[in-house]
């Protein structure tokens, strides 16, 4: 009797999901890669093949170079701030587990992550306001002169880094907390018997065991930071009243090239560069964490 292979049912069951994934995830990536080699204005039926001309032009485009520089500074700064701060906060919250209000600490740290992006950015815009913002009032107590946070090219980058870190830390804390809860108590007890302090136990037991979690958090934070757009847009928007210095980031530049300048092929080339950067950096992170854990 002829029997149907056992793998057929799972494959058939997965097919709709795989089909959807292919349509909404894989196809756009392939299409973006293809479009980056064409000159297309989104409207015209003409779509001439231009090879790597878009990439060559990108290499000398001052706005793109500024965008890539700004985005890289923001992404690395957010990762550099988020990982240690989130780890420290997670350790503190973990040490209070079982005590009263421990849930409140977790919720309050996670809250910025669930707040809608645009209202959060609007609130930060008010905090950074040069004339009415509480930040300038605060630094005024220490005799520091008021700063043009949203207008100075360097300070506006700092503002974006603060805003993005504030949003990223909550999620990172949650993931680190899960990791910390999975560290066996027996290891801490053994360390304590060997005379290790709490800090030493954290440093030599928890941190090495959390490396896979750190890898995950750093990859996710880096990728999301490379994709920032709304924060930069909101901090510089409201052109009727109080505009700010527009920090040019990659996604914003892509949107401008696609829908303002109607240069879809060129914007696709930018997207390909972003994809390559993120892939290379993710690969580097994997390598970094893997090598160290082996050592």
């Amino acid at each position: 009797m002829r029997t149907t292979p056992k793998w057929l049912f799972p494959v058939l069951a997965l097919l709709p999901i795989l089909g959807l994934y292919g349509c909404i995830r894989v196809y756009p990536i392939i299409e973006t890669l293809r479009l980056s080699l064409f000159q297309w204005n989104i409207i015209s039926r003409r779509k001439p093949f231009v090879g790597f001309a878009n990439f060559i032009e990108l290499a000398s485009d001052p706005l793109f170079l500024e965008a890539i520089f700004n985005t890289t500074i923001i992404a690395f700064s957010v990762v550099a701030i988020t990982i240690p701060v989130a780890l420290a906060l997670a350790a503190l919250i973990n040490s209070r587990q079982g005590l009263r209000r421990s849930g409140v600490y977790e919720a309050s740290v996670f809250l910025p992550h669930v707040v809608s992006l645009v209202p959060a950015a609007m609130a930060w815009k008010w905090i950074f306001d040069a004339r009415l913002g509480p930040l300038n009032a605060l630094i005024g107590f220490f005799g520091i002169p008021a700063q043009s946070w949203l207008f100075d090219p360097v300070l506006s980058l700092v503002c974006l880094i603060v805003l993005c870190s504030w949003q990223a830390i909550g999620y990172a804390v949650l993931i680190f907390l899960v990791g910390l809860k999975n560290v066996p108590d027996a290891l801490y007890e053994a360390a304590r018997l060997d005379g290790a302090s709490s800090l030493q136990a954290f440093r030599y037991i928890a941190v090495p065991l959390l490396k896979p979690v750190m890898l995950y958090v750093s990859v996710i934070t880096l990728i999301s930071s490379y994709n920032i757009y709304a924060q930069a847009f909101v901090l510089a928007s409201d052109v009727q009243g109080a505009p700010g210095h527009l920090v040019r980031v990659l996604v914003l530049d892509m949107l401008e090239n696609s829908f303002r300048n109607y240069r879809v092929g060129y914007a696709a080339a930018e997207a390909v560069v972003l994809l390559v950067i993120v892939l290379v950096l993710t690969g580097a992170q994997f390598r970094l964490f893997r090598d160290r854990s082996r050592a």
Binding site: I42, I43, S44, A236, G241, H245, R260, Y262
Partner: protein, 447 residues
Amino acid sequence: MVKPVDRFGYVTRPENNIRPANSGRRSWRSAALLLALAVAVPAFASPASAEKLTIWSGWPDLAPFYKRIGDQLKSKYPDLDISVEAIALREHEKRLALSLPSGAAGDVIEMEVEAARYLEAGLIPEPPASIVAFVKANYDMTRVKTAMYEGKIFGVPLFQGQGALFYNTEMLAKAGLDGPPKTMADYTAYAQKLAQRDASGAPTVSGWSLRLSGGGSGIAEKYWTILYNHGGTLLEEKGGKWRAAYAGEAGRTALKQYLDNVVVYRTVTPEMKADAEAFELGQTAMFIRESWVIGDVAKKAPNLKYATAPLPKGTLMVPVDLYVPNKGPKSQIAWDFVQKANEPENLLWLLENTAWVPNRKGLDYSAVLKKIPQLDAFVNVPAGHVFFTVPAISPASEILTRLAARLEKAFTDKSLAGNDAAIDAFLKSAAEESDKILAREDLLAKP
């Protein structure tokens, strides 16, 4: 007894639930029939005459106007359902770019100069002959340029954005100034007198609010207006092609005026409140803007004492035209809507309630001007006042956006203040970039 197993070798359903071999086919037929009924019944149930007309606008303040037109059209089409989808201009531009090529745009759409792209691509059908005749009879053809392609009319002008000076009459009187500035040199002199400062000398109320930041092309458009009033222009046409024209004396004078106000005299700083909001809050004495500010002031600062004045030589004019992008049975209703919107009574309502200036010729503005005298600077411009517009060429937006990014940095660059050579070098470099974009699109005119 053998339990029923399926092709994978395990029990799939109870014994007492085994159906005859053809029952699956029957149930499929029933399901298909039910689905067909579900689709067909609502279609037959709705009245044949019910039509939904979707209006796409990039100006949220125009929603009441379009709703009013829709209500009026119901006398001719009683079952007409009008849906006005008015969103922010930049988002509107994006939805047009995505929907027009696929034929999924609204039934009536607004477009500015970007219409040239869609007309060139053949995505907008020609209107009926009656509409063409209507446009020819009622509009100054110089204002219809953006709605034309290869000599044919494709859209109907509705209103236009044009700049004029808004000034706070109380602040001018307090500073001993008895009227608005007449020349561009006056603007800086006025700004110096009008700026209010704290004890440290930092400005608290700007003398003249300039667009200094915010991204996008707005910075370059405002610079163009000031440049024009210094006798220059941003792009000049030669034989159907274009060339950057701002790297010259007028360009230098215009940029110097910004630097004088921001860096030298500090009559305004980038971090101060700006634009209409600053004007309404009494935080600037004067600024250049389109007529919509009048409607905005009426809502937000009805007690503000202010007046308007035309600019010395001319202003950038941005016409907004209406198009019907889809052919088919609804297109006639859509064109009726467009024509209704352009009836004199409705255009005067538009002016009075939104302060947008209609394009149609021969309108009697006297009644509206009695109520809102500030509109006079927009509808009764002096003889010789020039309206110029962004050329309807595909890279116009990119040229403006890239120039804006450079200007934003230049406005606060202290090394440029009082340094003509540095200003000239800056303008030369920016103009080269503009020309490079034009050359890429095969639109660069010979020098």
